[in-house]
Amino acid sequence: MKKMSSRRKAVNAVVYVFLSVLALIWILPILWVILTSFREETGSFTPYFLPKGYTINNYINLLTDNTTFDFTRWFSNTLLVSVVTCITSTFFVLSVSYTMSRLRFRSRKPLMNIALILGMFPGFMSMIAVYYVLKAFGIEQSLLALILVYSAGTGLGFYVAKGFFDTVPRALDEAAMLDGASRGRIFWKITLPMSKPIIIYTLLTSFTAPWIDYIFASVIMGDNYENYTVALGLFKMLEKEFIHNYYTQFAAGAVIVSIPIAILFISTQKFYVGGVTGGSVKG
C-alpha cells in the first residue's frame, strides 16, 4: 500500500511540474503584452523583458489622439458588429439546431450531411466570391456587409447545440404538446429556459468570432479606414512606417480588446457547470 502511494506521489509531482511549466508558457506572452502596454520607451524590439519606465500614456494616447488612428471609432465599430452578429447568429444557430434535433422531415439527414461537409472547408475559401456578391448589392466596405457575412453562415455550426437539445427529454415536448402548446411555444417556453448553458455558449462563440476576425474584415473593408474593426486597425499600427512609434500603443490596444471577452467568459462561466434538467425526469 505504502509503496503504491509513494509511487502515486511521484507521478503527481511530475504531472504538476509539467502543468506548471505549461501554464507559465501560456501566461508569458500575455504578461509581456501587458508590460509592453505600460512601457515608457518606444520602439518595437527591446532586448529586455521588464520595461525601464512605466506610463499609462499609451492608453491615453490610444483613446484620445485620433489623428492617425481612430481607435475609439474602430472599437465601437467592432462592438456594434459583434453585438448584432452575436444576437442574429445565436438565433440562427439555436433555431437550426432545435429544428434538426426535434423535427423530422425528409431532407433532414441530407441537410445535416451537407452542413457537415461544408463545414470542413475553411470559410475564407469563399471570400472573393462573397466580396463580389456584396459589391453587386453595393454594400461592400460597410459594417452591414460585415454583419451579414458573419451571421449568414453560422447556422451551419449547429452540431454542438443540437447535441445539447438531443439531451433534453422528448417527453417534455410531448407533455407540452398535450398541454396545448404549439411548436414555437414549446421552443420559447419550455426548451430555451432549460438551455442556458448552450445559449451562453452560443452567445460567447458568436460574439468572439467577429470580434477577433481579421481575414474577412480586411477583404471587405479594403481601404475604408472609417469602418475598420479593431483587428484591422491594430494590425495597421504594425506597418513599417508606424511600428516604431505605435508599438506600445498597439500593445495597449491589444489589452483593451481582450477585456470585454475576458469579462464575458468570467461572468458566464458558472452557467457551464451544473445540471439543467434536474428533476424533470428521473435520472
Partner: protein
Amino acid sequence: MAEIILKNIKKIYDNSYTAVHDFSLEIKDREFIILVGPSGCGKSTTLRMIAGLEEISSGEMYIGDKLVNELPPKDRDIAMVFQNYALYPHMSVYKNMAFALEMRKMPKEEIHKKIMETAKSLDITSLLDRKPKALSGGQRQRVALGRAMVRQPSVFLLDEPLSNLDAKLRTQMRAEIKELHRKLATTFVYVTHDQTEAMTMGDRIVVMKDGYIQQADTPQELYNNPVNTFVAGFIGSPQMNFISARVIGDKEKIRLKIYDALFDVPKETIEKNHLRNVVNTDVIFGIRPENTHLTDENRNSVNTKIEICELMGDSSYIHMKIGEDNIICKYPSLFSGKKGDIVKINFDMEKALFFDRETGVRI
C-alpha cells in the same frame, strides 16, 4: 361521454417495422383499462396513438364519437402521465400545473382556484412553490398526476407511471390511482409491464404480445380462462407451470400421463377442456403453483427433484424439475427441503388447463 373505439389500428414505422397489428378494442366510458405485455409488445405505441403523439398508419380511432385520426393531441381532451413524469424543470409545481390552463387562456383566478383544489385533493399544497428537482420520486409522481387532473380531461392516459418508484411507494400509489379513478369517474388507459399492477387496478386487461392483442378480459377471467400459454404464463405470479403431458384413454375413461405417472381427470375438467377431442395426443398441461401440492400418496402423483426453495415468510416457493419441465409449487408454510431431494407432487385437477403442444392455444 368518452368511450374510445379503436378499429383495426395499425402502426408501421418508417423503417417498415410493424409495432401494432390490427388492434381493435372498445373502451367504455369510465372504464379503467390496462394494456399489459412484455417490452416491445406495442402497448406504449398504442397509448401514444391514442394520445396523438404517434401517427396512426391505418385504421380508425374514435374518442367520444369523434374520429380523431388527424386530430392534434391538444384537441383530443386527454391528459397523459409519463413514465419519467416529464415535469418542466424550470417551473415551480404551481406553474407546471398552470401551464396547460394558461395555454387555454383561462382567467388567472379560475386557474388559481383549480390548482388549489387539485393540490388539496392530492395533498401537494405545501409543494406548490418548489421546483421539480426539490421533490422526491413519489411527490413528482403526484405532481404529474395533478398536472393531468387540473385540466379535467375526459380520458387519462398513464404510461407506466409507477415503474420509477420503490416497491412500497408503488403499492401505495397503486391504491391512490385506483381511488382517483373512482373519484374522477373518467376513462383511464393505463400501460404497464407489471402483471400485479394490471391485476389489482384494471376493470379490464388487454394482454399484448408482438403487436397483437392476445386477450382482453377482466382480471378474473384472464386468470381462470387464459386463451393461450402466453396469457396463462404472463398473468399470475409465480407463473403457471407448463408440463408436457399426454392425454390417454378411450371414450370411457380419460387419464393424463405426465412422464411415467398416470393421473385421473375429473369429469368437469374433461368437459371444460374438451379433452375427448385430443385423446392420445401430446398436450401442454397448465397448472398454477398454488394448485400444485406435495403429497405422500403414490396414486395420482409424480416424482420430482427439488432445485431451489424460496422462503417468502408465510409460504415457500419450491422450484422443481421433472425431465425438461420446471415446476413451482407454492407451499403454504416454511419448507425445509434440500436441492436434489426427490418429492412427490399432485395437482388440483379441477383447476387444470390444457394447451395445444404446437400452437400454445387452449384446447
